[in-house]
Amino acid sequence: MAMTKEQLVQVKVNGRERQASVEPRLLLVHFIREVLELTGTHIGCDTSHCGACTVLLNGKTVKSCTMFAVQADGGEILTVEGLSADGQLHPLQEGFKEEHGLQCGFCTPGMLMSSYALLRTNPQPSEEEIRWGISGNLCRCTGYQNIVSAVRYAAAKMAKDTTTPVEMAGVGGKK
C-alpha cells in the first residue's frame, strides 16, 4: 500500500487547538470523525451530494467529504458539537427539537450547520431563503417542511433573545 510523507495539520476545532500528522489524502470528514473523534459530522453519500458532512471552515460551510484535512491547516472549524455552549442548546438545536425537524437524524448535523451559516448572514430569512440556504443538504425523512419551521423558530428566538451569542466559539473568518 503506497503511503506518502505525513503532514502536520493544525486547526482550531470548536474553539480548541487540535493537531495531528496525517496523510495528504485523508479527507477532512475522516479527520474530524476518526482523528478528532467528533462523530456528529456524518458521511451520507460520499459523492458530494447530500451535505451530511457539512461543517464551517473559516466561517463558510463546506462539504468536509470533498476536502483534504491538509487544506484546513491553520484554519478554524466549527462542527455540530460546537453549537451548544455551557450545556445549553443553541436556538437552532432547540428549534429542531420543538418543531420536529428531524426523524432519523442523519442529515441533521449538516442541516444545523447550513442553517447556522444562513442565520449569520441573514438573521430573518424568508421561507424561500431558508430553502435556498439548505439546498445543499438532502433529507429523506422529513420532506423539509419541519426543518424550515425549525430554522424559523431559531430566527425568531435569536431576534428576541439578544443574549444568545451569534458567534459560537471557534468560527472565525469573515462573514
Binding site: 506518502t4 495528504p24 489524502r25 451535505g51 460551510t61 463546506v62 447550513s114 440556504g133 439546498s135
Partner: protein, 289 residues
Amino acid sequence: MIPPAFEYLRPKTIPEAIAFLEQHGDDAKILSGGQSLIPMMKLRIARPAYLIDINRISGLSYIKEEAGFLKIGGLTREAELEASGLIRSKYPIILETAHVIADPQVRNLATVAGNLAHGDPANDHPATMLALGAQVVATGSRGDRVIPIEEFFLSVFSTALEPGEILTEIRIPVPPARSGGAYLKLERKVGDFATAAVAAQLTLDGNGAAQKVGIGLTNVGATPIKAKKAEDFLRGKKLDETNLRQAGQLASEDAQPSSDLRGPAEYKKGLVKELAKRALSRAAERAGK
C-alpha cells in the same frame, strides 16, 4: 472512497506553483476549489501523484472592471460572484450561471476558473463565457498567454491549457449599451448538472434588431458548444417570435447530446430548442431596458 496516495504541495506564489507543475508534468494537478477534482480522485478516475494547492496564493481573488473588460481572478469563488454588487447589477447572466452551480457549500469553494479549466462540458460557466466572447489568461513560465474562449475547449476534460500553465484570469469584454444576457438551465434537482442549458448574450442596434449574438450550450456535447448557426441567423434580424423559434431550432441542430440518465438525445435537442428561445427572449428584454 479513498483517493490513491499523492504528495501535497502548497506553493505561496504563482511562479512557485508553475515550477512545481513543470517539475512534475503529467503527474501533477492544480487544486483550487477541488469540487470537481476531489470527487474524481475519490472515484480514482483522477490519480495525480502530486497535488498543487494554490489556495494560499494571494492576489488572485478579484472581480473588477478595467480597461474595457470585466476581470475575474483565478481564485474567485462562485459565492463571491453571487455576493458581488457589480455582478448582480451589471451581469445577470453571470449571476444566473453561478446560482445554478451545485449548492451553497460547493459554491463557497468552487472557483470560476476551475469551472472552465476542468474542461467538463457539463460545467455551466463555459457556455456563458462562449456567449460573452470571453478570454482566459494562462500563466506559465514564459509569462501570460491570452486564449480566446472559442479556442479553449478541445474535448472532454481537455482544454488549451499547456501542462505548465495555470488559468489566472478570465476577461469578459464589457458589453456595450443595449446589451443583455440570460442563462437558463434545466436540472433534475438542485445541484445537478444540466440536462441541458443555454447561455444567450445580445446587443441590439438602434432599430431593436440583433447586432451582436452569442449563444452557448451546456452538456450537449463533448465540449460546451457555440451555436454558430443560430448566431449567424439571428444577426441583423428582429427578435420576434418567428425568428426566436428559428434560432432555437438552429441551436438544437448544433447540439450533439448523448442519451443517458438525464434523458434521450432527442429530448435534449428539443430542450435546447426551447431553452434557447427563452434565453434569447429574456436577453432581448434585458437589452431593451
